[in-house]
Amino acid sequence: MSNILIRDLIKRHGALVTVDRVSLEIGQGEFIAFLGPSGCGKTTTLRMIAGLTPASAGSIHFGTREVTHLPPYLRDAGLVFQGYALFPHMSVAENVAFGLQMRKVDREEARRRVDEVLSLVKLAHLAGRLPKELSGGQQQRVALARAIVYKPEVLLLDEPLSALDAQLRTEVRTELKRLQSALGLTTIFVTHDQDEALSVADRIVVMSAGRVEQVGTPREIYQRPATRFVAEFIGRTNLFPGGLDGPGRFRSESGERFAFGNADAPSNASALAIRPEHVSLQRGAPAPGGACTLEATVEDVIYRGALTEVVVRTASGARLAAHLHNADSGRDDLRPGDPVVASWPADAPMLF
């Protein structure tokens, strides 16, 4: 049974279409991430689900209830804003209790639930403080507590971690994931940080220019991007425009020939993509018969901690990046100018 059903949702601002026929089915308790570049319509979609922006067309159902034309206060959604929007004149506890009061939960029960949710987000000791007396991370957790305390039918998070520093972000997102699955909350999480999306979401919705490009699990999105946009947007990709050159062969515009083994390659493919981690580099001459290879020269070596990024250049000038694990011992260090052979598994290239 799906908990949220979005059908052909459209938002127009005059002639401008900012959300274009978005359709989506979200299961009960599922954690969905909206991922896309800035301005692609993530916030607008989220606001339409919350009821803060009227939809121009399409429908939204929470369970069996159609909410498309309901005002936000009748939708039963929990929303965490990018800037949190904690009520500055209310204490932490009062902020959290607000949604319960609106639902006419009796005082004792409300106090119990506020205490409960505050200890869940580890803020019980700060219940009496005003929002401005909290750190960014603490404010974020109040915002979250405030949105989940009344067990909303859907929890909507608009870049909730963007105000936090890198370390806190990873910490809080793990915490968020834990809470979400413990409470079984259907959640939509907007972000333009792909790491965040890949690590917390059950499924990712990749958006671009108001449209849904692909919906899938993080693994699907990364390994089987449906479109060239998704392939380029998620992770690092070596992308070569060009065309098919016979079955299992691709010729790039600059003249490199690639062999690949994907059976499902479209016949009109115009680009080939290879993830850098699939590329391996060897010194010396190409192994005879190894079809998936290219001769190249090392151009740049960038040490990246866990991995080393090596950029090589083919004779015709095309660049290819390879990610080599630094844990692989016995590999002698490559230097700019070294001749190498790049190779990849036959099923690694993706064609669009």
């Binding site: 936000p72 607000f98 639902r103």
Partner: protein, 307 residues
Amino acid sequence: MSALALTGEDSLTGGLPAPGATDRRRRRSSAGWLLFPSLTLVLAGLVLPLALMARTSVAHFDAASPDLVGFTLENYARFFGEPFYLMILARTLVVALSCTAICLVLGVPAAFVISRVESRALKTVLILATIIPLLMGNAVRAAGWMVLLADKGLINSALLSAGLIAEPVRILYTGSAVVIGLIAVLLPFMVISLESVFENIGTAYEEAAQTMGAPPWTAFFRVTLPLAMPGIFSGCLLCFVLAMNAYATPVLIGGPSFQMMAPKVFEQAIKVYNWPFAATIALVLMAVTLVLSVASSLALQKRYGVL
């Protein structure tokens, strides 16, 4: 290390002032120069005159001589002794308070709507429509009300010709007319102060409240309005002070029978030449205004924190 630096500072700099100190001193002296013109202006144009006025208010009135003579409280005794003047003070207070209350009731929705209008063009038009009347001055707007409210004014003429009334209704030269006239004068001040307040609060808090289940009225009264409280208070204060001090509206719209404090000052000074008593009325008016302003801001400060 830090202790050494602290104790050794004087000897290290060889008695010269530390760089920080010079800097601070220079800033202080520049502050002095920057404040000089404005403070001189206020001192010469307001503080000294008020001191002189205070002195005048305790002088004995002698119609024959303009000099300040004697020290007496007779002017104050007269003001607080005669029910006539106390009544004028009470009337002024009632008018000012009711104007402030009505301005609040009308100004809050007006300012809120303007601040939440989505179209930039419409917002500009509405703000200009608020500012432009401010520029017309009390005199022009009083003239407008006179034209509307007079026995033979537009409203009475219209009602008469429509056959709704047989006799003109007396509106001009009544207390209600003064309140109406003052509201029209003061409302733009209220709307403009509040509009920027609502604008600054933004829509995020309302939206947060609404997603948590608060219907519009609840969101407004529980969230938006409390956040706007400091702005609402300063708007009210401005209205109240301006209403207390209003001259043109009571003179022109209230007429001779509806007397208020400010016109009384002018009358005593220019028509009766009783400067000591004029000074007394003026000072009472000012003191009452100040005391009420300060008292209310203290009360609100207690309730809503720093304003």
